[in-house]
């Protein structure tokens, strides 16, 4: 009875506030006016949805942790969404997926959880996740995302046309950064084709771009010759170009990109560049931190790394290392066409959730309402994570930061004093819905990099999970990675590598079994 009464009240409230949560404020009224023009069917469906009284969410540390003001964040979220009680289960970040697995196995599932694409695909195939396709198709959220181009990222997470998780942001991806001072030193422009790119790497390798009189620089470096997770090729786009070493669709059917001529050509390009000394040989076994450190120390000139905030980080770190911090963000060369936007982790509703429509509407949809709730997910709680008050941070240090009244800035980090909060769960530059009154806290460097990426990217593909994938892909990927490393390092020719791939029972045969299962 109480629930029914609540729902009636909600329906009444929604006719004036439309789809932006159970609370109301001026911005939501604006949304209501816009939404009133949406089709009647959507309204009718929405009106039947009841706001849940209590939900349990399972999140990793991309949501504020307890020492970082989680309680204040959740309290504000409850206020904005109208959900009376939001329980949070937040395991240690590094052990998140272990705990998710244990929780799923225990049968005591949360209503909502964050899942990366791999886990989303796997759990969706096992029936753990609620199919939110209809809810999304009939939602105002889709309208808002479509208006901002964010719907493409959501569609990228669909499995056979069904949606089981809602991303809060774009996945982001890598762009290639070139040292401007090195380009100036060798008298070259930002390359636009592969041939020009190789010429730049040659000049970085051979023409003493750092001017120290020694032949001690490389053209490019990265963590591994192939990435450890999808989309695998994002650290070497100029070499891989149209090649992809794993499963992808071609003319509507699943194929293994490793078996293609494009992949063979890509491996030959990398092998040639390695043999010529253009690629840092230590790329084989170094981590991303090693690669960053080398770039900051001036050991190589072309660095493909994450767009957005990382551009600012690179700039700051180059400055701290007494390097010229100016970097040229390279648009994808002609042969690459577009960088790859990786699939984003998504908010999923479990199939045991009692009121999935309500959770979708009042929890997931409000996260991207373009107004107050999205602002909360983007920047956190005023006075805890951000402020507009006049104040001086770090006054007793060498680098005090002074802010005038009304100037938006991050508060001092509660867990790591001395650093400021820059964002909450949603990276403002990766949002799928335009945030009204965004204070624009991103630096120009970060913004330029993110804009370039956004204008030149395509979505990575979501690969469904099959039994064959589970059984064979571990061995297959290990073999592929070994062959790639050996070819690049010149220990095998491309033909020898593919001959071994075809003769090894864990090579082509496994690949074909997985492809067949995907095409069933």
């Amino acid at each position: 009875m109480k629930k029914r009464l609540m729902s009636l009240l909600m329906v009444a409230a929604m006719t004036s506030t439309m789809f932006v949560g159970c609370g109301s404020d001026a911005s939501k009224e604006t949304s209501a006016t816009d939404a009133a023009s949406s089709d009647a069917a959507t309204e009718a469906a929405a009106d039947e949805v009841v706001c849940p009284d209590e939900i349990t969410i399972m999140v990793d540390a991309t949501v504020f942790t307890e020492p970082n003001g989680r309680d204040q964040f959740i309290a504000k979220l409850e206020e904005l969404t109208g959900i009376a009680k939001i329980n949070v289960v937040q395991p240690d970040h590094d052990a998140y997926y272990d705990v998710v697995g244990q929780t799923i196995a225990s049968g005591d599932w949360p209503d909502v959880m964050i899942l990366g694409p791999t886990y989303l695909s796997g759990y969706a195939s096992q029936g753990v996740l609620w199919d939110m396709t209809d809810a999304w198709n009939n939602s105002e959220l889709k309208v808002r995302q479509t208006a901002f181009g964010g719907n493409v990222d959501v569609e990228g997470l669909m499995i056979n046309g069904q949606l089981y998780g809602m991303p809060a942001t774009r996945g982001n991806g890598c762009v290639t950064y070139l040292r401007q001072s090195w380009l100036d030193a060798v008298g070259m422009d930002v390359p636009t084709t592969y041939d020009e790119y190789i010429e730049v790497l040659r000049a970085f390798k051979n023409n003493d771009p750092d001017g120290d009189g020694q032949n001690n620089t490389y053209g490019a470096s990265a963590a591994g010759f192939i990435g450890g997770e999808a989309p695998y090729i994002n650290y070497w786009p100029e070499f891989y170009q149209d090649a992809f070493p794993s499963f992808m669709t071609e003319n509507g059917a699943w194929v293994d990109g490793f078996n293609s001529d494009a992949m063979k050509a890509a491996l030959q390009r990398m092998a040639d560049a390695y043999a010529e000394g253009l690629i840092d040989p230590a790329s084989l076994d170094q981590g991303t931190k090693d690669a960053r450190t080398k770039y900051f120390a001036g050991e190589f000139g072309a660095f493909t790394y994450w767009a957005g905030n990382w551009a600012e980080n690179i700039y700051q770190n180059l400055s701290q290392n007494d390097q010229d911090p100016e970097i040229a963000t390279m648009a994808p060369i002609a042969e690459v066409g577009t960088y790859i936007n990786r699939l984003s982790p998504a908010w999923c509703i479990t199939s045991t959730c009692e009121n999935p429509e309500g959770v979708f509407k009042y929890f997931i949809e409000t996260m991207q309402d373009g107004a107050d709730t999205q602002f909360l997910w983007t920047y956190g709680v005023e006075g805890v994570h951000w402020s507009t008050a006049a104040e001086t941070l770090y006054a007793d240090t060498d680098s005090p930061k002074e802010y005038a009244q009304g100037e938006f800035h991050g508060c001092d980090n509660l867990e790591n004093p001395g650093t400021q909060y820059t964002k909450a769960h949603i990276d403002p530059k990766l949002a799928l819905v335009e945030l009204a009154n965004d204070p624009g806290a991103l630096s120009e460097t970060a913004k330029a990099s993110a804009d370039l990426f956004t204008a030149n990217c395509r979505n990575a593909e979501m690969v469904p999970s099959t039994q064959e994938m589970t059984d064979y892909n571990g061995a297959l990927t290990t073999l592929k990675n070994t062959l790639i490393a050996k070819v690049v390092m010149g220990e095998m020719t491309v033909d020898e590598a593919y001959a071994e791939y075809e003769s090894n029972p864990e090579g082509l045969a496994y690949s074909q079994a997985i492809v067949d299962s995907l095409n069933k």
Binding site: G101, I104, A105, G107, T118, Y119, S121, G122, Y123, Q126, G127, V128, Q214, N215, N216, Y218, G224, F225, I226, E229, A230, S246, G277, D280, P281, A282, L284, D285, Q286, E299, V463, S465, T466, Q467, M469, T470, D471, N473, G474, A475, T477, T478, L479, N481, T482, I484, A485, K486, M489, E491, N504, P505, E506
Partner: protein, 308 residues
């Protein structure tokens, strides 16, 4: 009657049994309860769904793939060679240390060679990756260039070539673990009666003869004990191999535990824990057999004293 005696005895020593109780509970919870997971080795893991019983299918599959056998033989080879090398060198170093007369110098050397043992494998791997890097920043390659052994275009990728990976791996293990292993040998050496050496000197024995006829025989039992104890653990090889290996050397560096890791985390999907549990169970069984064999061997050479 016998049982009554036993219960009386237990009652009499109830304090000891009470003290032992936490250990028993700990062992049951952390050692025995997880063993129920072994059942997954005979199933097809289905996530939330009930695992399908597949009998020995996982084992059949395991024995039929070359990468498993490669990892199995790599494990045996790497572990045994590592054990022989580190034990031998630890014995030699212990004897040399024992010969040092200046006590301060001896202690200083001991401390220096112990220290690497306390470094984590992650730090050790980072350190040697830097030292052995095939770039102008790699210490060893720079030295080889400066000494004229190689030129700048011939730098050696010690950790990236199958031919050099294992020797380097053994060297790193020797550097890291020799000092620690000398502790037990040094203790044995300290226990040798000095009168034996004095008597040998009076009989005209030189340093080498004293070492051959007094030190070695006194150490022999300890060497064998250490060897047997470590031989039982040869299947447990993960961290040191994992942090030093890379894609290019997996043919020679992939061991059973890293094989399980790659099978699990390279699948790009929710892994089939049934298969990896089967591999783990096989590894445990081989380890168990080794322990039993070593136990018998230990009983033979140590006057009936086993290791379990």
């Amino acid at each position: 009657m016998k049982n009554k005696k036993l219960f009386l005895k237990m009652y009499k020593y109830k304090g000891f049994y009470l003290m032992f109780l936490p250990v028993l509970v700990f062992a049951i919870i952390f050692f025995y309860a997880p063993m129920f997971g072994i059942r997954f080795a005979f199933t097809n893991y289905n996530g939330i769904k009930t695992p399908d019983f597949v009998g020995l299918d996982n084992f059949v599959r395991m024995f039929g793939v070359p990468s498993f056998w490669k990892a199995f033989f790599n494990t045996i080879q790497i572990s045994v060679i590592k054990l022989v090398l580190t034990t031998t060198i630890a014995v030699v170093v212990s004897i040399l240390l024992n010969e040092i007369i200046n006590i301060h110098f001896k202690k200083a050397v001991q401390t220096i060679i112990y220290l690497p043992h306390f470094m984590s494998w992650v730090v050790t791997a980072s350190l040697f990756t830097l030292i052995l890097a095939p770039t102008s920043h790699g210490l060893v390659n720079t030295m080889l260039i400066n000494m004229g052994f190689i030129n700048e275009n011939e730098m050696i990728y010690f950790l990236g070539k199958e031919s050099t990976w294992r020797p380097v791996y053994y060297l790193i293990n020797i550097w890291k673990e020799t000092g620690w292993q000398t502790v037990i040998f040094m203790a044995t050496l300290a226990g040798i009666n000095t009168e034996l050496y004095e008597a040998a000197s009076i009989d005209g024995a030189g340093r080498w003869q004293k070492m051959r006829y007094i030190t070695f025989p006194a150490l022999a039992n300890t060497i064998l004990t250490v060897f047997i104890l470590n031989l039982a653990k040869v299947m447990n090889l993960f961290e040191s191999a994992f942090v030093l290996q890379n894609d290019a050397v997996l043919n020679t560096a992939n061991v059973l535990e890293t094989y399980i890791y790659y099978q699990t985390f390279n699948s790009g999907s929710i892994p089939n824990y049934g298969y990896t549990t089967a591999v783990g169970l096989f590894k445990s069984l081989v380890g168990c057999v080794l322990v039993l064999v070593c136990n018998q061997w230990s009983k033979k050479v140590r006057d009936g004293r086993g290791i379990v």
